[in-house]
Symmetry: C2
Subunit: 368 residues, 2 copies
């Protein structure tokens, strides 16, 4: 019996070997030895004040423009609760982050997907959606998009902001991967282009790790205050102990070094994935991101992601459902490949197994 270890090509998680345990331990010790009661007590629902202040300075905004949460996803839920009414349309890219779609639907909102190209959403379709649906908000991931690996061009960003202005749409910019650019030039954030109508969400999940659950939103102070009310009613205050540790870690200057380490760890993984795709799946269309966690692949005609997933399991590779990322259907041949938590060797072998599964699924289909 030959045992093959399954390669998990389905989870958008950071690499375990990226975790800076000793730095976090030092930050925890320093924070707790200072005996600041705010670490262990209830506090404002906006979150641990020193970390809010640090983030405000870091992003060049006022403190009342920053709210902390236990991961950024839940802050998005607070926004949906504060702003959404059941039946409202909300615009997203298509594909988009599936957990966002789940939250929107849970609150009775109606996601309207706008097709996403490698340089950002289709602007004609975006305008049509704004005009026809009068959405409350548009949820976009301009940098190294999850799941597509697309990055919105500078030109498209400016035009998205102009459309949001014309149709009076609130922009929600999800930016957890933004600082993880392995090459190329940074594009302006939507928040920098339209701070009065953008909420930018981000977190420490892809930098320090998701376990502390440190997410945040920056945006117009009035909106931030509305989120804080929902937050208070939900959990009184976020996880002050972990947020205090994150603050100690930030203020002692650890963030830049960690970002450099992550880039050094992840850039070769991106390259390994692109190389393996060119070698083993040349007929499929793959995005070519310059950062982040994800490459996406559109399989050639004649084979579905569903079939490849099933066959792939027998060949020791686990893949995510493609269709779940598409708010209004589609994605039958869409494959998301998160490359950060696998070594270059695992990536090469994983893509090889995917290619085997693609051929097998294609020939099984041809035989029917």
């Amino acid at each position: 019996v030959r045992l093959v270890k399954t390669i998990l090509f389905n989870r958008g998680v950071p690499a375990t070997e990226s975790f800076a345990f000793s730095e976090v331990a030092a930050a925890a010790g320093d924070a707790l030895r200072a005996e600041n009661p705010a670490l262990l007590q209830y506090g404002p629902s906006l979150g641990f004040a020193p970390l809010r202040e640090w983030l405000a300075a870091h992003h060049g905004v006022a403190v009342d423009q920053v709210i902390l949460g236990n991961g950024s996803l839940q802050l998005l839920e607070f926004l949906l609760l504060a702003q959404g009414r059941a039946g409202d349309a909300v615009v997203t890219e298509s594909p988009t982050y599936d957990r966002t779609l789940t939250l929107m639907r849970r609150h009775g909102l109606r996601p309207v997907g706008v097709p996403l190209a490698e340089d950002g959403p289709d602007l004609a379709r975006l305008e049509a959606a704004f005009a026809a649906e009068k959405p409350r908000l548009a949820y976009l991931i301009p940098d190294f998009q999850n799941p597509a690996g697309a990055t919105c061009s500078s030109d498209k960003r400016r035009r998205i902001v102009a459309l949001a202005e014309r149709y009076d749409v609130l922009l929600v910019e999800d930016a957890p991967y933004r600082v993880l650019r392995y090459r190329g030039t940074e594009e302006p954030s939507l928040f920098s282009l339209a701070p009065h109508r953008t909420l930018q969400m981000s977190s420490f999940s892809k930098l320090v790790g998701p376990g502390p659950r440190v997410g945040y939103m920056i945006g117009p102070a009035k909106l931030v205050a509305a989120l804080a009310k929902v937050a208070e009613d939900t959990y009184i205050c976020p996880a002050n102990l972990a947020h205090g540790i994150a603050w100690e870690w930030c203020r002692s200057g650890k963030l830049p070094g960690q970002i450099e380490r992550l880039k050094a760890l992840y850039a070769p993984r991106l390259d390994a994935c692109l190389r393996a795709l060119a070698e083993h799946l040349p007929e499929a269309h793959a995005t070519r991101p310059e950062g982040g966690f994800f490459i996406s692949v559109t399989l050639a005609d004649g084979v579905t992601t569903k079939a490849v997933r099933e066959v792939g399991l027998r060949h020791g590779v686990q893949l995510a459902d493609g269709e779940a990322f598409f708010p209004n259907g589609g994605g039958e041949r869409f494959l998301r490949l998160p490359f950060c938590a696998l070594t270059p060797d695992e990536i090469a072998e994983g893509v090889r197994r995917i290619a085997v599964a693609v051929r097998e699924a294609a020939s099984a289909r041809a035989a029917v």
Copy 2:
């Protein structure tokens, strides 16, 4: 100018001087130095496995009966999302914890309050509510109730369970103060009497502190699994870093000593409050709890909490709204006194100021 420091008699928070900073720092260091990736990585939405295992052993239940959350309040919201449908009746004591009422209303549920006596809810009214309203669930705080300071008698607990059985009502037992009994004998928990139809919620907020946000629910495995699904959709997983620190603190045997320290700190505060009430407000009816955080006072006829609050502010004492605790009206003369976060001297002075405010409010009213 004589400056009077306002006494905050309105916040049900633990005493800052109860925080075991050095113990928590040691636990954080030990936990992080072990480099368990689960502390910094995403994990199961049920929560950090070692703490679930520790709590399961502590409570004598199976591991799949335990779910962790970022404080227990939010786990209650998950239950409302999993089980409630807009318009459903949910039974509570009257008065009850106001944040619970807020959450219930946010999800369109209809709280039906059953009058609470010092030995627990009025059973005839409880049965009438069960029969008339067919509630999804009944939310009860049997031990050292927030806000009343009432503790349900052993006999009433058994009859509540029998009624829940007859009318097929899920019991939600909120028990964060249960282990903080300063005198007298422990009553059986609802969970121990009816484990198949009870979810017991508790947390470390009143033991270690609220800042780490470590709450949990124990109950039937199938219900716990339903909560885990809602949790995953909401925040992926709870705050593993803080929960890992709490686990390290628990497994190194720190909980019993901390509980003893809390009892030694809080028992004299309870006594100081009861003494001051007997001395300064003999005409008001006060509950006489044997533990927990709260004494409640029903003011004598002729004066309202609202008036006393307003006058009290001028005399340097801040009080909570009484009516917010009552789901269907009432509470005009209800005063909650959280005594744990004030020193015995502050308590004595605070109650004296309340008594001054009561006299002033009463004579202002008589003069109208």
